[in-house]
Protein backbone atom coordinates (compact mmCIF):
# COMPACT_ATOMS: atom_id res chain seq x y z
CA UNK A 1 0.00 0.00 0.00
CA UNK A 2 1.46 3.35 -0.94
CA UNK A 3 1.97 5.91 1.78
CA UNK A 4 -0.61 8.73 1.76
CA UNK A 5 0.94 12.10 1.02
CA UNK A 6 0.91 14.54 3.92
CA UNK A 7 2.50 17.47 2.11
CA UNK A 8 2.03 19.28 -1.17
CA UNK A 9 5.22 20.89 -2.39
CA UNK A 10 5.43 23.49 -5.15
CA UNK A 11 8.66 25.03 -6.29
CA UNK A 12 8.86 28.73 -7.01
CA UNK A 13 12.34 29.17 -8.47
CA UNK A 14 14.74 27.92 -5.81
CA UNK A 15 12.11 28.24 -3.09
CA UNK A 16 9.98 25.25 -2.05
CA UNK A 17 6.49 26.11 -0.80
CA UNK A 18 5.02 23.38 1.39
CA UNK A 19 1.29 23.07 2.11
CA UNK A 20 0.00 20.64 4.70
CA UNK A 21 -2.71 18.21 3.61
CA UNK A 22 -3.97 17.66 7.18
CA UNK A 23 -6.16 20.13 9.02
CA UNK A 24 -5.00 18.67 12.33
CA UNK A 25 -1.35 17.84 12.88
CA UNK A 26 -1.41 15.70 15.99
CA UNK A 27 -1.50 12.03 15.19
CA UNK A 28 1.88 10.50 16.06
CA UNK A 29 2.10 8.55 12.82
CA UNK A 30 1.15 11.58 10.73
CA UNK A 31 3.68 13.76 12.51
CA UNK A 32 6.34 11.15 11.82
CA UNK A 33 5.42 11.05 8.13
CA UNK A 34 5.30 14.85 7.89
CA UNK A 35 8.72 15.01 9.54
CA UNK A 36 10.16 12.41 7.15
CA UNK A 37 8.76 14.25 4.11
CA UNK A 38 10.08 17.60 5.34
CA UNK A 39 13.53 16.21 6.13
CA UNK A 40 13.68 14.60 2.68
CA UNK A 41 13.34 18.04 1.08
CA UNK A 42 16.64 19.05 2.67
CA UNK A 43 18.50 15.75 2.90
CA UNK A 44 17.66 14.19 -0.47
CA UNK A 45 16.36 16.99 -2.67
CA UNK A 46 18.87 19.55 -1.46
CA UNK A 47 16.32 22.34 -0.97
CA UNK A 48 17.68 25.25 1.06
CA UNK A 49 14.86 27.81 0.96
CA UNK A 50 11.62 26.46 2.32
CA UNK A 51 8.26 28.03 3.16
CA UNK A 52 5.78 26.14 5.31
CA UNK A 53 2.28 27.44 4.55
CA UNK A 54 -0.09 26.67 7.44
CA UNK A 55 -3.18 27.96 5.60
CA UNK A 56 -4.91 24.60 5.82
CA UNK A 57 -3.94 23.82 9.43
CA UNK A 58 -6.48 24.37 12.21
CA UNK A 59 -4.76 22.53 15.04
CA UNK A 60 -1.33 21.22 15.96
CA UNK A 61 0.09 19.59 19.06
CA UNK A 62 3.40 20.05 20.85
CA UNK A 63 4.69 16.87 19.17
CA UNK A 64 4.37 18.67 15.81
CA UNK A 65 6.34 21.62 17.20
CA UNK A 66 9.18 19.20 17.94
CA UNK A 67 9.38 18.17 14.28
CA UNK A 68 9.38 21.80 13.16
CA UNK A 69 12.29 22.54 15.51
CA UNK A 70 14.28 19.62 14.10
CA UNK A 71 13.44 20.79 10.56
CA UNK A 72 14.60 24.32 11.38
CA UNK A 73 17.91 22.98 12.68
CA UNK A 74 18.37 20.86 9.57
CA UNK A 75 17.80 23.85 7.28
CA UNK A 76 20.12 26.03 9.32
CA UNK A 77 22.81 23.34 9.18
CA UNK A 78 22.91 23.70 5.38
CA UNK A 79 22.79 27.51 5.66
CA UNK A 80 19.28 27.61 4.30
CA UNK A 81 16.21 29.40 5.56
CA UNK A 82 12.85 28.13 6.78
CA UNK A 83 9.88 30.50 6.88
CA UNK A 84 6.46 29.78 8.37
CA UNK A 85 3.44 31.68 7.06
CA UNK A 86 -0.36 31.87 6.92
CA UNK A 87 -0.75 30.76 10.53
CA UNK A 88 -4.16 31.12 12.24
CA UNK A 89 -4.50 33.36 15.29
CA UNK A 90 -4.87 30.32 17.58
CA UNK A 91 -1.79 28.51 16.28
CA UNK A 92 0.22 31.74 16.28
CA UNK A 93 -0.57 31.95 19.98
CA UNK A 94 0.85 28.43 20.49
CA UNK A 95 4.16 29.66 19.01
CA UNK A 96 4.07 32.72 21.27
CA UNK A 97 3.33 30.77 24.47
CA UNK A 98 6.20 28.39 23.78
CA UNK A 99 8.42 31.34 22.69
CA UNK A 100 9.06 29.51 19.43
CA UNK A 101 8.05 32.70 17.61
CA UNK A 102 11.58 33.82 18.56
CA UNK A 103 13.16 30.71 17.05
CA UNK A 104 11.25 30.65 13.76
CA UNK A 105 10.85 33.27 11.07
CA UNK A 106 7.09 33.79 10.79
CA UNK A 107 5.45 36.02 8.19
CA UNK A 108 1.83 36.89 7.37
CA UNK A 109 0.92 35.55 3.95
CA UNK A 110 2.82 33.48 1.40
CA UNK A 111 3.73 36.53 -0.66
CA UNK A 112 5.52 38.15 2.26
CA UNK A 113 7.28 34.84 2.95
CA UNK A 114 8.53 34.70 -0.65
CA UNK A 115 9.83 38.24 -0.31
CA UNK A 116 11.61 37.45 2.96
CA UNK A 117 14.40 35.45 1.29
Amino acid sequence: MSKPRRLEVEDSGDISVVNFVDKKILDEQNIQMIGDDLFRLVDELGRRKIILNFGNVEFLSSAALGKLITMNRKVQAVRGKLILCNITKEIREVFEITKLDKLFTITGDEQSALQAF
Partner: protein, 132 residues
Protein backbone atom coordinates in the same frame (compact mmCIF):
# COMPACT_ATOMS: atom_id res chain seq x y z
CA UNK B 1 -23.45 16.17 33.23
CA UNK B 2 -20.73 13.54 33.59
CA UNK B 3 -19.14 11.06 31.20
CA UNK B 4 -16.47 8.43 31.77
CA UNK B 5 -14.11 6.77 29.34
CA UNK B 6 -11.59 4.00 29.94
CA UNK B 7 -9.16 3.38 27.09
CA UNK B 8 -6.01 1.32 26.55
CA UNK B 9 -2.73 3.16 26.06
CA UNK B 10 -3.35 3.73 22.40
CA UNK B 11 -3.23 7.10 20.65
CA UNK B 12 -6.02 6.08 18.26
CA UNK B 13 -8.34 5.49 21.22
CA UNK B 14 -7.22 8.79 22.69
CA UNK B 15 -8.23 10.47 19.44
CA UNK B 16 -11.75 9.08 19.74
CA UNK B 17 -12.10 10.31 23.33
CA UNK B 18 -10.69 13.67 22.29
CA UNK B 19 -13.34 13.96 19.58
CA UNK B 20 -16.15 13.03 21.97
CA UNK B 21 -14.98 15.62 24.48
CA UNK B 22 -14.63 18.18 21.71
CA UNK B 23 -18.24 17.73 20.58
CA UNK B 24 -19.53 17.68 24.18
CA UNK B 25 -17.87 20.97 25.16
CA UNK B 26 -18.22 22.86 21.87
CA UNK B 27 -21.74 24.22 22.56
CA UNK B 28 -20.54 25.77 25.83
CA UNK B 29 -17.50 27.68 24.63
CA UNK B 30 -16.32 30.31 22.18
CA UNK B 31 -14.15 29.02 19.34
CA UNK B 32 -10.99 30.17 21.15
CA UNK B 33 -11.93 28.45 24.41
CA UNK B 34 -12.92 25.25 22.60
CA UNK B 35 -9.45 25.30 20.99
CA UNK B 36 -7.96 25.74 24.48
CA UNK B 37 -9.79 22.72 25.92
CA UNK B 38 -8.88 20.61 22.90
CA UNK B 39 -5.21 21.51 23.22
CA UNK B 40 -5.08 20.76 26.96
CA UNK B 41 -6.94 17.43 26.61
CA UNK B 42 -4.76 16.37 23.66
CA UNK B 43 -1.52 17.13 25.49
CA UNK B 44 -2.73 15.47 28.73
CA UNK B 45 -3.86 12.30 26.96
CA UNK B 46 -0.57 12.00 25.09
CA UNK B 47 1.35 12.56 28.35
CA UNK B 48 -0.74 9.88 30.12
CA UNK B 49 -0.20 7.32 27.35
CA UNK B 50 3.43 8.04 26.45
CA UNK B 51 5.05 9.24 29.66
CA UNK B 52 2.65 7.72 32.23
CA UNK B 53 1.81 4.32 30.81
CA UNK B 54 4.86 4.17 28.50
CA UNK B 55 2.58 3.05 25.63
CA UNK B 56 1.86 -0.22 27.48
CA UNK B 57 -1.49 -1.32 26.05
CA UNK B 58 -2.15 -3.44 29.13
CA UNK B 59 -2.39 -0.22 31.14
CA UNK B 60 -5.47 1.98 30.91
CA UNK B 61 -6.20 5.67 30.92
CA UNK B 62 -9.35 6.82 32.69
CA UNK B 63 -11.02 10.03 31.64
CA UNK B 64 -13.83 11.73 33.54
CA UNK B 65 -15.61 14.68 31.92
CA UNK B 66 -17.88 16.93 34.00
CA UNK B 67 -19.76 19.82 32.50
CA UNK B 68 -21.53 22.30 34.78
CA UNK B 69 -23.00 25.74 34.06
CA UNK B 70 -19.79 27.30 35.44
CA UNK B 71 -17.02 25.12 34.09
CA UNK B 72 -15.79 22.04 32.30
CA UNK B 73 -13.56 19.70 34.30
CA UNK B 74 -11.58 16.78 32.87
CA UNK B 75 -9.79 14.26 35.10
CA UNK B 76 -7.22 12.12 33.26
CA UNK B 77 -5.59 9.25 35.17
CA UNK B 78 -2.86 6.90 34.02
CA UNK B 79 -1.37 3.78 35.62
CA UNK B 80 2.27 4.87 35.47
CA UNK B 81 4.70 5.61 38.29
CA UNK B 82 3.53 9.21 38.69
CA UNK B 83 5.72 12.31 38.43
CA UNK B 84 6.46 15.62 40.06
CA UNK B 85 5.34 18.46 37.78
CA UNK B 86 7.93 20.74 39.41
CA UNK B 87 10.67 18.51 37.93
CA UNK B 88 9.65 19.33 34.36
CA UNK B 89 12.18 21.82 32.95
CA UNK B 90 10.96 25.19 31.64
CA UNK B 91 10.81 24.72 27.85
CA UNK B 92 10.95 28.49 27.28
CA UNK B 93 14.36 28.83 28.98
CA UNK B 94 16.97 29.74 26.34
CA UNK B 95 18.90 26.48 26.90
CA UNK B 96 15.71 24.41 26.35
CA UNK B 97 14.14 26.37 23.50
CA UNK B 98 15.44 24.01 20.81
CA UNK B 99 14.56 20.80 22.63
CA UNK B 100 12.06 18.89 20.46
CA UNK B 101 9.80 17.93 23.40
CA UNK B 102 8.62 19.10 26.82
CA UNK B 103 6.08 21.78 25.89
CA UNK B 104 2.85 19.92 26.69
CA UNK B 105 2.56 20.97 30.33
CA UNK B 106 3.31 24.59 29.52
CA UNK B 107 0.47 24.66 26.99
CA UNK B 108 -1.92 22.88 29.37
CA UNK B 109 -1.25 25.42 32.13
CA UNK B 110 -1.60 28.36 29.77
CA UNK B 111 -4.91 27.30 28.32
CA UNK B 112 -6.74 26.08 31.44
CA UNK B 113 -8.29 28.19 34.21
CA UNK B 114 -6.88 25.72 36.74
CA UNK B 115 -4.60 22.67 36.59
CA UNK B 116 -3.95 20.38 39.54
CA UNK B 117 -2.32 17.00 40.10
CA UNK B 118 -3.43 14.20 42.36
CA UNK B 119 -2.40 10.65 43.09
CA UNK B 120 1.37 11.45 42.90
CA UNK B 121 0.95 13.01 39.46
CA UNK B 122 -0.98 10.10 37.93
CA UNK B 123 -4.12 12.22 37.73
CA UNK B 124 -4.27 15.62 36.11
CA UNK B 125 -7.40 17.73 36.67
CA UNK B 126 -8.09 20.30 33.98
CA UNK B 127 -10.67 23.01 34.64
CA UNK B 128 -11.85 25.59 32.15
CA UNK B 129 -14.26 28.21 33.44
CA UNK B 130 -17.03 29.40 31.21
CA UNK B 131 -17.05 33.14 30.61
CA UNK B 132 -20.13 34.86 31.95
Amino acid sequence: MGQQFVIPSDLEDARRVQEEIESAVKPFFTEGDAFAVKMAVEESLVNAIKHGNQMDRAKSVRVQLDISPEAVAVHITDEGPGFNPDDVPDPTAPENLERPCGRGLLLIRYYMSDVSFRNSGRTIVLTKNRKK
